[in-house]
Amino acid sequence: MRTNLKVVDNSGAKRVMCIQALKGKKGARLGDTIVASVKEAQPGGKVKKGQVVYGVVVRAAMQKGRSDGSLVKFDDNAVVLVNKQGEPIGTRVFGPVPHELRKKKHVKILSLAQHIA
């Protein structure tokens, strides 16, 4: 809740604030879906400021356990905006994303991503 996340796609939003994690009582972790409010947006984008959107956390500074028991962490907190069905709103994804998204059935984001870590 209330975490400011960078938006790393070309949906038009620049910064969103988490207002609800759709799973888990401890808040969203890497790969989780959140409900967010758009705080900053580029003019002429698909998403406007003040809109309530869904997003997938693709980078988190908080470390997350991997399936082999090791941990992974990222530089910042970033999100890719999706619609209610889980399809990305934008057509590009910037920066590295974790391969765990495949497990969460966000294959589309993975295929759009520049790097997979």
């Binding site: 470390q63 028991g69 090791s70 941990l71 992974v72 962490k73 530089d75 974790p98």
Partner: protein, 167 residues
């Protein structure tokens, strides 16, 4: 399964160990334990931290060039399973390991070669110059055989020389 190397100390990271940090330019930094991760967060240079492999290689502490290092390589193409090949590889691992440890031993031995004579030399020098710290100069004159070893007799002569000058 792949055994990675720690970014900081170059030790092997076995599956399930350590943490990996992905920078925004997608460079991956793998760490074998929290010690290495913390040192990275402190922005320490592994070449300047004495316990890392990078420091030891840079300062000639460890063997750097050896044919046994050539076997350890990153291969991106998986080898097709062959029973004989696997058996031979498993045998070779032991042999290579033995050879390497032996060579490392000789490397350290060579590195330490002049060490003992240097230590004794320094100790002798200290004894020569600081003998008054353990025995008063007068006592040395009174009892020449205070210490029995040959090197001390040299010192006694030295002291008597000084005494003569005083006289």
């Amino acid at each position: 399964m792949r055994l990675e190397k720690c970014w900081f100390c170059s030790s092997t990271i076995y599956p399930g160990h350590g943490i990996q940090f992905v920078r925004n330019d997608a460079k991956i930094f793998r760490f074998c334990r929290s010690k290495c991760h913390k040192n990275f967060k402190m922005k320490r240079n592994p070449r300047k931290v004495k316990w890392t492999k990078a420091y030891r290689r840079l300062h000639g502490k460890d063997m750097t060039q050896d044919a046994t290092f050539e076997f350890e390589r990153k291969r991106n193409r998986p080898e097709r399973y062959d029973r004989n090949l696997t058996e031979n590889t498993l045998k070779a691992i032991k042999v290579i390991d033995k050879v390497r440890s032996r060579r490392e031993e000789t490397h350290i031995k060579n590195r330490m070669k002049g060490k003992k004579s240097k230590i004794t030399k320094e100790a002798l020098k200290e004894l020569d110059q600081q003998i008054h710290m353990i025995k008063a100069p007068g006592a040395m004159v009174k009892d020449a055989s205070a210490t029995t070893s040959a090197k001390v007799t040299v010192k006694v002569q030295h002291d008597t020389d000084e005494n003569r000058m005083e006289e």
